[in-house]
């Protein structure tokens, strides 16, 4: 039975046609995936369905209601909930309060009885807060109930967004890139959660994400958008091999780098480090988040920081770039002690930080954002290279940054950093929100950096890709560095990585989940992705690896190869 029927949706922004006659049908209980390059119109379609923007043309039918002209809150009442790609939590309210708003906005509450604290309101209040706590508990967010939503790291905010949408008890859930910024293990959990929500609550979903492992795993059917038009639709497996989709969105496999990485890294060994961080400690309020972080980056070196969400990577970058004040330790950049210097001074020395939230001004145009770089550099900088790197931005040059699609904003942030001719770029969540083809291109850019002698310190949830491109890597765990070494070694020695970084997760499922997306893909592992390897199997694998004296990862790959042959 069709639950949502979208017909002929067309949206124009000035000369740009963001959506061009898109139609879509969603059945009850179905999870529908939607993929497409950056700026294809996915978020715009969500905006139309949730009523945030009015389409120029087209109609929306939800169950038996014509929604075309309904205001957003009316759609919420009918059971349509959504999450936002660029997080829209109510930052100055606690997580629990965030969940309670949609709950009682939909109930019958009265402003005056609330202010007077009449028994009716007090009762409803208790009921809402208990339900909120239950939902938080299920999503493993219970301990954040009393934290202000704005204080949470982005990865957790994304989960709170889902919790808040579920608090509405929706019939239809629109998820806009829920896996952005989540690591492989968390993405696997998310997939399970979405399945569970569908089973338990009979919620239909529309899912946009660039993480193909998630889309492939949870969706019954996939729509592909390109330039606002429907490019293809079909079952996930068919979409994956559709040549049109591969050409427009997924792209070809990149070849894996091997030996030459080592030689580059070796060549830089003699030069003195560009950035030296010594026993750094930092935190927020009464809480110490990182301690004893010691790392170094040489000129032209690409260094990856990996580790679970909350391990302290973002905080480390912030403390280095002066966004927060270190509590102990030293940061030496280009031979100067910059510990606790103001961020602007550090930037002037050639250390550019692209923060998680991208740090852009929404009401400035793309072109002006890029020109600002030249102003702060003190001389005119040619902004043409930015457009060569990201041709998409050329067409969007007059558009306000705030109205760009999520991926386009990430491009602007990267372009701005590159234009400032830095000596070291620190990128937090580099590939977040970018389409697979762009991600691949980005990793190429990082390689170009290395050739030009620009050093890169990157935080990346896609461990495989990060290790592919990096010379060295630091593995963060519980606010400090648990492990470090040349990326090549870390990559082959999977027990090391799984031991500290992936914690208790089963090897195979996490390796597999890291695939898709322009990130390195092991086809055999893609298949077993949905199988949770039981703890016993894992132990057996480790034992075998120990006996044979090689990494467990290698054993897994070999075993899977055998399975494939049969």
């Amino acid at each position: 039975m069709t639950m949502l029927r979208v017909r002929d949706m067309t949206v124009r922004f000035g000369g740009i046609v963001a959506l061009d006659g898109v139609s879509l049908d969603l059945n009850r209980g179905e999870i529908l995936g939607m993929i497409g390059p950056n700026g294809a119109g996915k978020t715009t379609l969500f905006n139309c369905i949730s009523g945030v923007i009015r389409p120029d043309h087209g109609s929306i039918l939800f169950e038996t209601n014509d929604l075309t002209y309904a205001p957003p809150h009316r759609r919420a009442q009918l059971g349509i909930a959504r999450t936002f790609q660029n997080l829209q939590l109510w930052g100055s309210m606690t997580v629990q309060e965030n969940l309670m708003v949609p709950m009682d906005a939909l109930g019958r509450r009265n402003t005056f009885s609330d202010a007077l604290y009449l028994p009716f309101s007090a009762y409803a209040e208790r009921a809402s807060s208990e339900r909120a706590r239950a939902i938080l508990h299920v999503l493993d967010l219970g301990r954040y109930a009393r934290t202000l939503a704005g204080d949470l790291p982005a990865g957790i905010q994304r989960r709170v967004e889902i919790a808040r949408a579920l608090a509405m008890r929706p019939k239809l859930l629109l998820l806009d890139e829920p896996a952005a910024g989540l690591d492989a293990q968390e993405t696997a959990h998310l997939a399970e959660l979405l399945h569970a929500v569908r089973e338990r609550f009979h919620v239909s979903m529309l899912l946009v994400d660039h993480d193909m492992s998630l889309v492939m795993r949870v969706c019954d059917f996939v729509y592909v958008l390109d330039f606002g038009k429907l490019l293809a639709r079909g079952r996930p497996a068919a979409i994956r091999n559709d040549p049109k989709v591969v050409a427009a969105y997924l792209g070809e496999e990149s070849k894996k780098l091997t030996g030459d990485v080592m030689t580059v890294a070796a060549a830089r060994k003699e030069e003195p480090p560009l950035l030296e961080v010594d026993r750094l400690a930092a935190g927020y309020g009464g809480l110490e988040v990182i301690r004893d972080v010691t790392l170094s980056v040489r000129p032209g070196e690409v260094v990856a920081c990996i580790g679970a969400n909350g391990a302290g990577k973002t905080t480390t970058l912030r403390a280095i770039s002066g966004m927060i004040h270190p509590r102990a330790g030293h940061v030496v950049f280009a031979g100067r002690d910059v510990t606790g210097s103001p961020a602007e001074r550090i930037t002037k020395l050639g250390l550019v930080h692209i923060p998680e939230g991208r740090g852009l001004f929404p009401t400035i145009s793309v072109e002006d954002t890029l020109r600002l770089v030249s102003n702060s550099a003190g001389h005119e900088v040619d902004i043409a290279p930015a457009f060569q790197l990201f041709p998409r931005l050329r067409e969007r040059r007059r558009q306000l940054v705030g109205t760009l699609s999520g991926g386009e904003q990430q491009m602007v942030a990267l372009a701005r950093a590159i234009l400032s001719e830095p000596r070291l770029v620190m990128i937090d969540e580099m590939s977040q929100g970018l389409a697979p083809t762009v991600v691949r291109q980005l990793f190429e850019i990082v390689r170009v950096f290395r050739e030009q002698g620009i050093a890169v310190l990157l935080v990346e949830q896609f461990v495989e890709s990060a290790l592919d491109v990096a010379d060295r890597a630091y593995v963060f765990e519980h606010g400090t560095i648990a492990l470090s070494g040349p990326a090549v070694e870390l990559r082959s020695d999977r027990t090391l990585v799984t031991g500290s970084y992936l914690g208790t997760a089963a090897d195979a499922s996490t390796i597999a989940a890291a695939n898709g997306n322009g990130h390195h893909i092991d086809p055999a592992l893609m298949e077993v992705m949905s199988v949770r390897v039981p703890a016993k199997v894992k132990r057996a694998l480790e034992q075998r690896a120990e006996n044979e004296g090689r990494p467990a990862g290698a054993v897994v790959v070999e075993l899977l190869g055998k399975v494939d042959d049969q």
Binding site: A76, F84, W90, D104, R164, M168, G310, G312
Partner: protein, 345 residues
């Protein structure tokens, strides 16, 4: 939960008893200042609701107070009603105007909304409060004189019963302030605050923006109007000057200075607004080490401007907000209260 409510009621009662005694024994001028302080505090409280809770900007709060004052004056001087009835009419008039002003606010925000409300203040200042066409409402150039008013059937003469006017005003303020604090933590308050933090997600999570924004503007105007309605009683007459454009601007500046999110900051700001200029005019001249000096009322404006700049740099959450944060920090450092001890990254 209920213990928190009890605590608040208690706090309001204590505040009332303490504040009610302060002007006793001072001269009439100071008593007048005290009453005026509460009237201005109502104006600031209206901004706590509108800006602090809902995130809307308004530069015409004094206009709402003025409409309340004139409507009350009209009822008392023109129709000889009981003062409380007149206050009811004044509040209703202000509420209505607030809802009307709220209509453009449905589409506008930020600087454009500021300019639109500024325009409204200007229009009322020039073309309503001071225009012949509205003499029926404003009582002409002389304004309404309210010499003999009755409240609860009791005689409330402005010059002789300044103290009782002050007590009634203060009691009302404590009640409204208490309701405001309650509102903040209630379901409706959460919806209002959701609009402040992100309109986009508030709308998609089921908050009816039209309804709540209009309600917020209406309630805010009503609060300002409630204060204004007592102006004729306290001053004995109504004139355009106290409710001119500049008072609206002062409301905005002082609300931000004291902490626009906090109810007690409104009381603090009211005192500041009423007492400091008076102190300046009384004691602002004399001789110091042989030199005659004079600090006029103009200095007050300059001082507010300078303080505002200092505050924006040093105490971004306002005087009260910063005080509060310091106290909380000290308490959680002392281990008395758990505070927010949650892992953050």
């Amino acid at each position: 939960m209920t213990s928190r409510l009890m605590f608040r009621v208690l706090a309001a009662l204590v505040a009332f008893t303490v504040l009610a005694r302060i002007p006793v024994g001072f001269d009439v001028g100071f008593k007048f200042d005290s009453a005026l302080a509460v009237i201005w505090a109502f104006g600031l409280l209206s901004l706590v609701l509108l800006t602090g809770y809902v995130g809307q900007i308004s530069l015409c709060q004094a206009t709402f107070a003025g409409v309340g004052a004139y409507a009350t004056g009209l009822m008392v001087a023109g129709f000889h009603t009981d003062y409380l009835v007149a206050v009811g009419v004044g509040v209703a008039a202000a509420f209505t105007l607030g809802v009307i002003v709220g209509i453009p606010a449905l589409r506008l925000r930020g600087i454009t909304l500021a300019i639109v409300t500024l325009g409204i203040a200007l229009v009322f200042d020039r073309y309503v409060f001071q225009d012949h066409a509205f003499e029926w409402f404003t009582g002409g150039t002389a304004g309404w004189r309210v010499d003999r008013a009755t409240m609860f059937g009791l005689q409330m003469d402005s010059s002789k019963h300044l103290m009782s006017a002050y007590i009634v005003l203060l009691a009302l303020f404590c009640v409204v302030a208490l309701l405001m604090v309650n509102l903040h933590d209630s379901g409706a308050g959460r919806r209002l605050r959701a609009i402040r933090d992100s309109e986009l997600s508030a709308a998609t999570m089921g908050v009816n923006l039209t309804r709540y924004k209009l309600l917020a503007f209406g309630m805010s105007a009503a609060i300002a109007g409630l204060g204004g309605s007592f102006y004729p009683l306290v001053a004995g007459s109504v004139s355009p000057q106290p409710f001119w454009l500049f008072t609206s601007l002062q409301f905005a500046a002082i609300a931000v200075l004291m902490g626009v999110r906090y109810v007690p900051a409104a009381a603090l700001g009211g005192v500041f607004m009423a007492v400091v200029p008076d102190v300046l005019t009384r004691f602002g001249h004399g001789t110091f080490m042989g030199h005659a000096y004079e600090i006029s009322y103009d200095w007050f404006q300059i001082a507010v401007g300078v303080l505002l700049i200092v505050q924006l740099i040093a105490l971004p959450d306002g005087v009260w907000g910063d005080l509060r944060a310091r106290v909380r920090h000290a308490r959680s450092a002392a281990g008395a209260i758990g505070g927010r001890k949650v892992k953050v990254a």
